[in-house]
Symmetry: C2
Subunit: 187 residues, 2 copies
């Protein structure tokens, strides 16, 4: 990609992030993004069709590598390979979040965090779905599989939301223990 394009893209992402830390998504205007990023009006629209489009792109940029890195992790271990194994997929995800390579946390700690977590949940759903298929687990209960998949990814996302809103006082390992406690009985 053209070096100029990279710069503008980065500038717009940065401006958008800055604004999201200040105010909610719905109150941010394209105009403000343009001003903050200090790019021409035409330039913005050459990169993104709408504000929603920008949000989507940012989410992909942010969650893409976390998810794919986690996917590698699930190839070696399962969702919860071993009842005592410290490296569960969920712990992995939480650690990634806490390391915060791409300043995700600032974004997640904002009024519009739910917006981001919806994207996150979609990716998560696929990931967990695959796990179920691969492990080819038989249901001891007669609860539908997609209910369980939704329950797990949903609970995880709600937990992250709770974690963030509570100013992330717990370590990823602690959280993972809580999550195991409420999810393992189901599996």
């Amino acid at each position: 990609m053209d070096r100029r394009q990279q710069k503008t893209r980065a500038a717009i992402f940065a401006a958008f992030s800055t604004l999201l830390a200040e105010k909610s998504y719905s109150k941010i205007t394209v105009q403000e993004i343009i001003d903050t990023a200090n790019v021409g009006r035409t330039t913005f629209y050459a990169h993104f069709e709408t504000k929603d489009d920008l949000l989507k792109a940012l989410c992909e940029e942010l969650f893409g590598h976390i998810i794919s890195s986690t996917l590698d992790c699930t190839h070696t271990h399962g969702l919860y390979s071993d009842r005592n194994a410290p490296e569960s997929v969920f712990c992995h995800l939480l650690q990634h979040l806490q390391e915060d390579e791409k300043n995700i946390l600032e974004l997640l700690y904002c009024e519009s965090s739910e917006l981001f977590l919806r994207y996150f949940k979609d990716s998560l759903n696929e990931l967990i779905q695959n796990q179920f298929v691969n492990q080819n687990r038989k249901n001891n209960t007669d609860i539908p599989q997609d209910f369980l998949v939704n329950h797990i990814s949903g609970s995880f996302v709600e937990m992250v939301l709770w974690w963030i809103k509570g100013r992330m006082k717990q370590t990823p390992e602690e959280l993972d223990r809580y999550f195991r406690a409420v999810i393992e009985p189901v599996l």
Copy 2:
């Protein structure tokens, strides 16, 4: 309240609901609401300060009575009074939703359903919180109580979302059974 006010309020709510069935919340303009409701511009702003304000009012109108009626229910039984009792609080809530006295379902089956369910979750959180306090339950695990409360209300809302998106194929009783299966081990 003045009969005229009631009528306008109802007209605006109806218009808003109609529009929500067509398009997402963020794309609905105050102008459209005014046109659809067939009320004067001044009138709208006399009732609601902003579109967000309207949304909030609608949510209170919709969920208010469901929650309070459920509150009565929790006074007699607990969250899950008896392991075999059919009338759990959750089943109660789901039945209320399905009966759909106030056409909530049309609203929940729209692009912006998550918006409504956020309001719902807040009410739910209080309700469950109170249950915990009243029952004065001792934790056999060392999982924090507010984690559990969030887990339960979060899971419930995610389940309802899943239910609605899947076109509500399950009965409230079925759903309640699923929910018990994944939640009771935690309690």
